[in-house]
């Protein structure tokens, strides 16, 4: 089966591009930050600098691991779904599910290994740059040299490989197992995340404005709330669609398509919600914090600076990963619909109307994702600003929110419309015949 796995990669490298990109980005992030552990472990480094480096490596490294896992899982789920016919054929030719599982996991590990190997060079460069940032802001002494050692290398490769193997395992499971039990588990974790998130957010009020860790509770609360919403994404979308009616033939078709495909769209909606919530909440709170500190005329201490660097880095990483996931799932989902678009065209839809359907679907998805993401973000932002600066709605929010929404909309609409245009280039009769 491993031979088959390698052969299937060699003959269709394109299909693994998204997985490779996720593995590469993930490994690069993990190695970059874990090289701070190596740097901190060098002899002769002062304890404050060492602490800054280790803290950033710990926090971002943890985030990175989670993101690699989700990104690879998302790309592999799409990959396995697209290959349902091929896997079924293998099964009919006598392959057991265990063998198929081994093949998919083998493919994923091979691709992840390549991604991790490619990431070593960029990660060495990234680690050097990161250290420069810490040194420029005075958090680490200038005399410290960057070191890319065994911790960075081993953890980068090991985490990427394990994440890929685990994600592949889940992707096959998802393709073969019944949903019943998973749905219940998912609903339970969703409500648990919402409850814990709400409690965490509320606990902000129990803290004082000068608490160092004031930002932690509302930020984690907002993230938990967004995870809760993300897990309920399918249900939320269905509820919304039952009440929604768009005018025009394109809008009419869009609502019906979304209703039918709500389950498959959960991944896209999830990415949108997490993206909006995490980036809006983190960036707004950081902006409020910086402005308040400035107003009070306090010079930031090293911890505050580290926190700021970390916040921006985390948001940057999340943006990059969510973009890869969004683009990949939207691209795959749209290419997969070539036959459906062909049928619409044969029934009398102009290419413009088909694009209109896809555009309307994208708008509904973006609006839903942004709405729930914003609710989660505000749930964290408002308690924070009430305690920190005695205002309910910080002025910094709107600019940041607009930028986040613009990116989310541009990625969602851009990918689906560009892919649809490409799909529409084939004649309708051919598009219908291909998948038949």
């Amino acid at each position: 089966m491993l031979v088959l796995a390698l052969r299937s990669i060699r003959h269709r490298p394109g299909r693994f591009l998204a997985t490779l990109l996720s593995a590469f980005l993930g490994a690069a992030v993990i190695m970059t930050f874990n090289s701070m552990h190596d740097t901190a472990g060098q002899p002769g480094i002062d304890s404050a600098g060492s602490e800054t480096l280790s803290l950033s490596a710990g926090v971002v490294g943890g985030y990175g691991t989670l993101l690699v896992f989700f990104a690879i899982a998302s790309t592999l789920t799409v990959n396995v779904r697209r290959r349902a016919a091929e896997l079924e054929l293998l099964r009919c030719s006598g392959a057991t599910w265990a063998q198929i599982k081994r093949m998919v996991v083998g493919e994923a590990v091979a691709v992840a290994l390549v991604g991790a190997a490619l990431a070593i060079g960029p990660a060495m460069l990234g680690g050097q740059l990161l250290l420069d940032v810490f040194q420029d802001s005075g958090q680490v002494a200038d005399s410290v040299d960057h070191s890319f050692g065994p911790i960075a290398l081993m953890s980068g490769i090991a985490i990427t490989l394990f994440a890929a193997a685990g994600a592949a395992f889940l992707a096959v499971r998802r393709a073969t197992h019944r949903r019943q039990l998973r749905d219940r588990a998912r609903a339970f974790s969703a409500y648990a995340a919402l409850v814990v998130g709400a409690v965490t957010v509320t606990s902000t009020f129990a803290m004082s404005a000068s608490d160092e860790a004031l930002m932690a509770a509302p930020a984690y609360g907002a993230i938990l709330l967004s995870v809760g919403f993300a897990l309920l994404a399918t249900r939320l979308l269905k509820t919304l669609l039952d009440r929604l009616s768009l005018s025009g033939p394109s809008g009419w078709l869009a609502v019906r398509n979304l209703r039918e495909r709500a389950d498959q769209l959960a991944g896209i909606l999830m990415s949108l919600i997490l993206f909006t919530a995490v980036s809006t909440a983190t960036l707004t709170m950081q902006a409020v914090e910086s402005d308040t500190v400035e107003k009070l005329g306090i010079v930031k201490d090293i911890d505050a600076k580290t926190l700021q660097t970390l916040n921006f880095t985390v948001v940057g990483i999340i943006v990059a990963f969510v973009c890869v996931m969004l683009v990949n799932s939207l691209y795959a989902a749209t290419t997969y619909r070539a036959r459906e678009f062909g049928q619409q065209r044969l029934a009398g839809a102009t290419p413009g109307q088909v694009l209109g359907v896809v555009g309307a679907e994208g708008l509904v998805l973006t609006a839903t994702g942004v709405f729930f993401g914003t609710v989660a973000a505000l749930a964290g932002i408002v308690p924070f600003t009430v305690v920190r600066s005695d205002e309910v709605m910080p002025g910094q929010f709107f600019g940041i929110w607009l930028a986040v929404v613009a990116i989310a909309a541009a990625v969602t609409m851009g990918t689906s419309l560009a892919t649809t245009r490409r799909v529409l280039r084939a004649p309708a009769v051919e598009a219908v015949g291909l998948a038949a």
Binding site: Q344, A347, G348, G352
Partner: protein, 261 residues
């Protein structure tokens, strides 16, 4: 059975000639590997006729149908549907040209899985920007014997039933010509007979014009006349066809074409 809408104002009632092809040529591929699928085909079909197009594999019958139906653009020649010339502009222009004049039935039905039977049936009207009500869908589906299946999904119906939904959808815009590409190719004998009778009925009772591509002599025998195609050229015509006569002629249609070369 089908209401005549006010949208007919674009022309002066139906022309006597439903379809006319003049010197239509279509070549696929380039240079050495070029294949001439249609080699100067000229034909004319009157209103209210049921014509079958037959020929061996690779004779160009599907290409003929696609060029005549505006799904493909001929390299040269003229296609007139209901007296109006089909001009190969953008896909959007061709689509709008087809909407009011042409209906399709395919071997694979091509119904949208996300829509119910009733929604599938009136989709062409909706896409053309017309108001539709449930009555219209019920009316046209009743006429194909599926008035009780409005809320079903295509996947819940048998092949024959799905093909009848496709026919209802093709007829709902009251097109001047209905093109059917192997409409019984995926059906069992009994369902195939129902579908063919339905097509026959739309011609005989409601005066529609139907052009059907098929390789099955029995299916062709339901038509008023059969056109034979070989190597991209017309190779004869048979009126009042019977399955045996069609099969006999089909077996030799290639010979005639060879002799003619």
């Amino acid at each position: 059975m089908f209401r005549t809408g006010s949208r007919r104002t674009h022309d002066e009632g139906p022309a006597a000639e439903a379809l006319r092809l003049v010197e239509v040529t279509k070549t696929y591929g380039f240079d050495d590997s070029a294949v001439t699928a249609l080699d100067g085909v000229t034909l004319s079909l009157g209103r209210g006729t049921f014509t079958a197009v037959m020929g061996p594999s690779g004779s160009g019958k599907t290409t003929l149908l696609q060029c005549a139906a505006g799904l493909d653009r001929p390299d040269s020649g003229i296609v007139l549907v209901d007296g109006a010339e089909m001009t190969g502009g953008t896909e959007a222009e061709l689509t709008k040209f087809r909407r009011r004049r042409i209906g399709f039935v395919f071997q694979q039905y091509n119904l949208l899985e996300t829509l119910t039977v009733a929604q599938n049936t009136v989709l062409p009207l909706r896409l053309a920007g017309q108001r539709v009500d449930r009555g219209q869908a019920r009316e046209v589906l009743t006429s194909v014997g599926l008035g009780d299946r409005l809320e079903h999904r295509p996947g819940q119906l048998s092949g024959g039933q799905q093909q009848r939904v496709a026919i209802a959808r093709a007829l709902v815009t009251e097109p001047r010509v209905v093109f059917a590409d192997e409409p019984t190719g995926a059906l069992d004998t009994r369902s195939a007979r129902d579908v063919l009778r339905l097509l026959q009925q739309t011609v005989r009772v409601h005066g529609r014009t139907v052009v059907m591509v098929t390789h099955d002599p029995v299916a062709a025998s339901y038509a008023d006349s059969v056109l034979f195609l070989a190597d991209g050229r017309l190779a004869g015509r048979m009126d009042a066809p019977t399955p045996d006569a069609v099969a006999e002629r089909l077996a030799h249609v290639g010979d005639d074409a060879l002799k003619a070369v």
